[in-house]
Amino acid sequence: MKISYNWIKEYLDLDVKPVDLAEKIERTSVEVDDVVTPSEGLKKIVVGHVLSVEAHPDSDHLHICQVDVGEDEPLQIVCGAPNIAKGQMVIVALPGSRIAGNVKIKKSKMRGIPSAGMICALQEIGFSDDVVPKDYVDGIYVLPADATPGDDVYDYLGMNDSLIDLDVTPNRGDMLSLNGTLRDLAAIYDKPVTLDQPEVKETGEAIADQLTIHADADLAPQYRMRLVKQVKITPSPMWLQIRLWNAGYRPINNVVDITNYIMLKYGQPLHAFDYDKFAGQDVYVRNAKAGEKLTTLDEGEHDLDDHDIVIADDQAPIALAGVMGGLTTSITDETTTVAIEAAVFEHDHIRKAAQRHNLHTDASQRFERGINRAGVQDALDAAAEMMTDLADGVVQTGTAVGSDNVPEPAVIPLSLTHVNAVLGTTLELAKVVHILESLGFTVATAGEDMTVTVPIRRNDIHIPADLLEEIARIYGYDELPTTLPTGRMTMGTLTSAQKLMRATRHSLEGLGLNQAISYALTTADKAKMFMMQPSAETDLAWPMSTDHAVLRMNVVTGLLDDIAYNTARKVKDVALYEQGRVFYREDGNDRPSEEEHIAGAITGTLMPAGWNQPAKDVDFYQIKGIVAAYLKDMAINGDVTYEANADMPEMHPGRTADILVHGHRIGFMGQVHPTIAKKFKIGATYVFELNLQAIIDMPKQENQYDVISRYPAITRDIAMLVPDEVTNDQIVALIEKRGGAFLQSVKLFDVYDGVKVPKGKKSLAYTLTYQDKHETLVDDAVTQAFEKVEKRLQDDLGAEIR
């Protein structure tokens, strides 16, 4: 809601600049989006009197105007507006002026004719299209005839006012009005405020003979109408138009403008009906019936059902209650009798109706937040009074009342001790009472106990905590002390799972992978790739797009998306890991279970080519090295083994391994299948994904000191030819099993599969290290053990020792 600084000043004696006022509101009441003074940034824009208008010789739409701008000589200005006419008072941007959008106006020629400035439309000096009166939307604006040529136009158009745009939180519906804002400001600045009291002159017939309302009080706790006859529809006076356009409303005509003005002032939405269009004299507030239709003011057609609340006459709905009036009974230039509606509708119904019909109006916004049920008649009277003043209307005697439900005011007990205990303050009773009273609350005290009666208009206040907020904000948050919680001590420690997750991240970063955070919502396709266990997919009910519609059941595809993003931007070397959840669902369950996973992906090279080293493309053994080093860091108590897996559809059948601990599969690694890589538009990529939860849950080895032997180690190398199908794992296992008591380690140092090796065979070479922890080993003992291993390799694996 845009609220006028000048309007506020009419009621409150404030000596603050608009920006300071806005700051105060923001600090104490509700958020302020911005403060705008419409004339700011404009220069040399004055009133001009059009002395003559001649057709341009070389144009069918341009006119040559002589315009008096209060100087000795009139200016010649070429103008293309269709509504330019001799005698008008117009807005002139002089040569050297600045108009909206920081555009400078200079002397120029238009089709050969010199033009000294520009005659402006309102839009050209910064007005939004939405607020310009209909007559002037497509042309220049015409100022009142009594304007003085040469004067700045700003004051004529209300442009020197400052407009404070309030972003009102859902609880503070009362701030969506001048009166509500004034009441808060009165408390904030601790100043008295006197609000206008309407005075209606009821000079017409009794309304009871002309109108009867049948309202369901459950749908509309308040429903009232007044009748005003003999109205003359005209444009509103300038001051009213200014109030409206500065608040963001387009001036329409005096009757409609009055309803909007009263809404701004009182916060009470009103609707003006053309009474003569009613079928009959009865008005109903009821649920719509299935099949009923209504065309609203904006010419939108709506199919209604029994969830909707409508205002209806004897025949059909005439308004969608609290949202928008109907077209057939709307005010036109011919209207002479106006039925003014002031009501309160049940907010939940209005919220749903506004959603259902996609009609979020200023009225519906106010009803949704709740409005002052005790102020309905005042607003209605004020509108009737204005229709007498501005439209020569004759107000009929009495108000037609369909329902009149006013809730009891909230009465809230509050103790001073409680106030200070929660706020951390040492406020005195008198101070607290004063704050509450300045807000218009009534306070009865008994010792330190208060009983606070809250006016109906503050429908956001029900419990002591609500009062605490009022006290705190008016007292000022800056005035609160700054302390830290005291009391019983607590320990702050990470759980072992949290520690492991941190260790996981540090380990993988140390191994060269950057942490990625990808989207957990993905496409249906990607969600079910690289599955580590069977699961039903979990879909969003109303996704925003198919790209983010299904919960992921793997982490790898997110990383592949990331690699694709990098690849598309010519970043070729990518090494990423991600720690995050996957979502597995069992058929029949609505809710998936969540499992922590850890995944990595590398493409290009891990270490880019430098001046002293060549690039090395990533390969299986690099991702395996990373996984092995990571798992070593996690110190899982149990053998980690890798088994070839040719069956994962998204993985290269010859370059993929399952990762097992104690024979239990906890993940996989390997090369992404080239066809999948192609789908993602990425190059050769190696990935792994592990069930991190499983790693968390597994027993761990404790670090233990192992004596470093003082005695020398003896090494022996062994090279052998073995059939292709014999694996390194088999050879190492055999050597370790048969190596004897002193074998400390087996290290592969060469693999050769080239031309010098017979077909179907490969050459492998290992270094075996022997050591005795307690004495110097004798060569013989090693030789004996070594020969034994050689023999077993020949016998068991068909190795040919070289």
């Binding site: 920006v19 923001e26 600090r27 939180t169 859902p170 609880n171 939940d348 919220r351 959603q355 929660v422 706020l423 951390g424 905590a465 609500d466 907020e469 904000r473 948050y477 800056d478 002390p481 700054t482 830290l484 919680p485 005291t486 009391g487 019983r488 001590m489 607590t490 320990m491 702050g492 990470l494 949290q498 991240r505 140390g510 950057n514 942490q515 990625a516 990808s518 989207y519 957990a520 919502l521 879909d539 009910a541 109303w542 919960l551 990331d562 990098n566 070397d573 990518v574 090494a575 990423l576 890991y577 995050g580 609505d590 809710r591 998936p592 969540e594 891990l606 880019p608 430098g610 080293q613």
Partner: protein, 348 residues
Amino acid sequence: MSLKDKLDELHQRGLAEIKKSTDLKDVNQVRVSLLGKKGPITEVLRGMRDLDAEERPKVGAFANEIRDDLTAALTKRREELENAVLNARLANETIDVTLPGTPVAKGEPHVIQQIIDQIEDLFLGMGYQVLSGPEVEEDKYNFEMMNLPKNHPARDMQDTFYITKEILMRTQTSPMQARTLEKHDFSQGPLKMISPGVVYRRDTDDPTHSHQFHQVEGLVIDKHITMADLKGTLQVLAHELFGDKFDVRLRPSYFPFTEPSVEADITCFNCGGKGCNVCKNTGWIEVLGAGMVHPNVLKMAGVDPDVYGGFAFGVGPDRFAMLKYGVDDIRNFYLNDVRFLTQFTKKG
């Protein structure tokens, strides 16, 4: 010529030869020729047997003195020459120290992770637990127990990814408040927790909106927790994350699960509080929402609001990172361009 004179002469001649030697081979030859078994000193000493018993030890001692001195001179010369050789070699080995170092594979933590870790460490130090809850939540915990009943206006269906009517992607990490409150045994001590994690909103991704982002929720419940404590806690947080010169101020706001509710602003990063276009000339930037836990939230979780109370706050690490590092597009956090990920390398 007496033996002594012979030795003197040998001594002088030896020193001169040593001095003349120009390489290690020379030095070695000099050593052999002077001190070797067939060398002149040995020769002289052999002549000692002709001396009388009184002279013999004197000359012997003298001869040893000379031998030691020559040995020392030889050693010194050898070291000199070795050093010269070494220096010459080292001079030859000079490299361009300004050539780049050999790259080392090194990964970086995600910038949002860094902020979350920093927040966690701060609150761990103040005795808070770190708790993480499910990302797929029940409506009950995400909304109802946060004092957002089904028809509440603040609860716009548009903003939530529902899976079924009752199951949804959590829109905030606050559900962990309710889940923890339900279980906490206050006889064992106050509840002090933070809950970091991913949250989801039904939004179209653009530079300032992301359908996935992060939140760290904080909650303290005990018998005597005040709004002043909240203010102090938020100030500590701002100082930890941004630095001591950043101030915190509170403004009234509205959240259904807190009353009073506040927004916290901190001093504008861009202008230091003077006012600029980043802070709309206020000198302040909104960074988080907070408040005193609404009695209804406590009641629904089975905690007596007449005895216990406290504060809650919700921090957006994405927003913090954007502000702290001037990141102008939130999508950067989730697209994982390596050139983005590797920018935030400052440790500690």
